[in-house]
């Protein structure tokens, strides 16, 4: 009996997050029911839309890619107590930069593709340095500054596709990128592209950086307790600046991968809010690189599922943002669940259970 308790207590954060998500979706179901939509119907169309056939499943996976990379972008920031809510803007600028490099530059693919991805990451990272400077030098709350910076980034990309770059065809977009800058498709005819490998590399990189290097250790120390980190001799501001840059760079990379793998050009308003979803993805993934893949899969499925859902069961697509909000709210409030949870699994012999776990 104590063994089971020990198991549940040790994995408390994971189980509490799962409970929080289940509760969040329960609330979403209530909202659906209250507004006259059938939640069970919704779940059916959602599942069909996300995993119903090979096409839909590969589409889901192709959405997991930007969500994971952007989620990691938020994660590396949040681990260093940098809340980068500007991922949407950095992602757009990164995508734009990579698209421009993709269609202007002529190079063999082994140079062109890396250069294009690098351009996206670099521009995203540089844009991330603006809130970094504001935060570490001018003490401006980064949530505020990064949210505000999303607007100029969006307008800039609008401006570029509408008024600077000559439009081919009807949709506002850049010209198509060269073949040498495209990520190959893994299954012809589907949307699943080689960006999956970039995603896996990013996850391993984030894990290695944060948990296996002293730089990552220092970043996490800054995130855990800034004052203690400073007394420990860690250059807190430098680490935060780096976290901002890295976060922005990964956001830019996420945009570049979308351009190289899915759209082959910068399509105006191509991002269905990946930047904001990344926050939810990272928080639900418990700010753990591998957790992010799992939660990105959930939210990737949500993204594709909701398309079919909105077509067949008359549920507005705005439900995604609503779900994001409710999930983050529950994840933010999960500490109260922690109290109940601990009480349930500890039972009466709290002391013995504590001792058992600490051993």
């Amino acid at each position: 009996m104590l063994g089971i308790r020990k198991f549940f207590l040790k994995r408390q954060p994971v189980f509490i997050t799962i409970i929080a998500i289940v509760l969040a979706f329960f609330v979403v179901g209530l909202i659906l029911a209250a507004t006259g939509r059938n939640p069970f119907n919704a779940v059916y169309y959602f599942a069909r839309g996300a995993f119903g056939n090979v096409m839909n499943t590969t589409d889901t996976i192709s959405r997991v890619i930007p969500l994971t990379i952007a989620g990691i972008a938020f994660l590396v920031g949040a681990q260093s107590s940098v809340f980068n809510v500007g991922i949407e803007g950095q992602l757009l600028l990164g995508a734009m930069a990579s698209a421009i490099v993709g269609y202007i530059v002529k190079l063999p693919f082994y140079l062109h593709l890396p250069l294009m991805l690098l351009a996206g990451a670099l521009v995203g990272g540089l844009y991330g340095l603006i809130p970094a400077w504001l935060k570490t030098r001018r003490k401006v709350n980064e949530i505020l500054s990064t949210i505000m910076l999303n607007y100029p980034a969006t307008y800039l990309t609008h401006f570029l596709v509408l008024k600077v770059i000559p439009i081919e065809g009807v949709v506002p977009a850049t010209p198509f990128i060269e073949d040498s800058a495209r990520l190959p498709l893994l299954i012809p005819g589907s949307q699943l592209h080689a960006g999956v490998f970039i995603m896996i590399l990013v996850v391993i990189f984030a894990y290695y950086l944060l948990y296996k290097t002293s730089l990552g250790y220092e970043m996490r120390a800054v995130g855990y307790n800034r004052v203690a980190a400073r007394f420990h001799g860690i250059p807190v501001e430098k680490r935060m600046n780096f976290a901002f840059f890295l976060s922005g760079a990964l956001a830019g990379l996420a945009g570049a991968v979308e351009v190289a793998g899915v759209h082959y050009r910068f399509l105006d308003q191509f991002s269905p809010g990946y930047g904001f979803d990344s926050i939810t993805v990272a928080l639900v993934g418990l700010l753990n690189p591998f957790g992010v893949i799992i939660s990105a899969t959930l939210f990737g499925a949500l993204k594709t599922g909701i398309l079919e859902m909105s077509v067949y069961s008359g549920i507005p697509r705005q439900l995604t943002t609503l779900i994001n909000g409710i999930v983050v709210l529950f994840v933010a409030a999960k500490d109260i669940l922690g109290g109940w949870y601990a009480r349930i699994f500890r039972g009466k012999n709290t002391y013995e259970a504590e001792k058992e776990i600490s051993q």
Partner: protein, 319 residues
């Protein structure tokens, strides 16, 4: 292509600019004053933008279904309070991270307002036109161009809103509740020692602040325009948050900061009409309010401006 700059300047700086400054400032002032009240009690509510959005929707719905914009206004305030209550419960009672909770509230409100709009009117983007708050016209002010531009033909709630900083000043510095409020933000434990409950004061401040933010949103949908459109608050909540910082969390400072941001918005709109798109693109003007806000935050922030205990949850047992 050629632009006569002297004529352009004349076309820009008119009394109409003053009128539109007041018009676009009102929602920022309401949200800013509300957020200032909340922050004074030691609570940072980043979800103002969302609260305004829900307020805007509630006002449009109230006005649409009853035909009375005043009912819409009340609905907006109450909706704001409801969202404030949700935020308070999670951020104050459960002591969750205030920034993340605020962010969640923002996302929730963006999603919920868009969702409800679609559900209720069966088509996306906009609500139908709704009745707006009456405009006031004072005949005796017509002779004085300046006052005429500020007060005449403005929405009925403009004058009470312009009085808000005075009300807040009196509340903060001339009433016992005001000093408790400030104590809750500076040192809640000291306040608890004298027998006041910081949690209750933070709740009241957050609810009142959210009420004002809701009204601020209502102003957008039933006065500045006459419909609700998706995401219509467009960052004004975040600009109000910046104004609170810029204004040093003090009534007149925040008020002036809000008017300043309102002026920038009005200026940007005027510039768009006067200067052709080919010379300076519209997108640059549209980015201006956000860029200027950041510039202002970078340049003028005061380190000792805000309450000492802001953002920290109050826990009775802790020392």
């Amino acid at each position: 292509m050629n632009l006569n700059w002297a004529d352009a300047l004349k076309a820009i700086f008119t009394l109409t600019l003053l009128t539109s400054t007041i018009r676009v400032s009102i929602s920022i002032i309401l949200a800013g004053m509300g957020e200032m009240l909340t922050e004074r009690s030691g609570v940072l509510n980043i979800g103002v933008e969302g609260t305004m959005l829900m307020g805007a929707l509630a006002a449009a719905l109230g006005s649409y279904f009853t035909g009375s914009p005043w009912i819409g206004l009340i609905a907006a305030g109450l909706t704001g309070m409801l969202i404030g209550l949700l935020f308070s419960f999670i951020a104050i009672t459960l002591r969750s991270n205030q920034s993340i909770t605020g962010l969640a509230i923002y996302l929730l409100c963006v999603g919920l307002s868009g969702y409800l709009l679609q559900i209720i009117f069966e088509h996306g983007g906009n609500s139908p036109k709704v009745n707006t708050l009456p405009m006031l016209h004072f005949a005796f002010l017509e002779k004085i161009p300046l006052l005429n531009a500020i007060f005449n033909d403005q929405s009925a709630i403009v004058i009470p809103v312009l009085l808000l900083p005075i009300i807040m000043y009196v509340l903060f510095y001339r009433t016992p509740w005001g000093s408790w409020l400030r104590a809750a933000g500076e040192n809640p434990k000291a306040l608890a020692v004298v027998g006041k409950n910081p949690v209750r004061i933070r709740y009241v401040a957050t609810l009142c602040g959210s009420f004002l933010a809701g009204i601020g949103g209502a102003y957008l949908s039933i006065s500045q325009t006459s419909l609700f459109s998706e995401n219509m608050v467009a960052g004004r909540g975040f600009i109000a948050l910046s104004a609170v910082i810029f204004g040093g969390v003090r009534p007149f400072g925040v008020f002036l900061a809000c008017v300043f941001f309102g002026f920038m918005d009005a200026l940007q709109k005027t510039l768009q009409t006067v200067i052709p798109d080919t010379i300076i693109p519209r997108e640059l003007f549209m980015s201006l309010p956000y860029l200027l806000t950041l510039l202002v935050l970078a340049g003028f922030i005061k380190k000792s401006g805000g309450p000492a205990d802001i953002g920290n949850p109050y826990l009775k047992e802790s020392r």
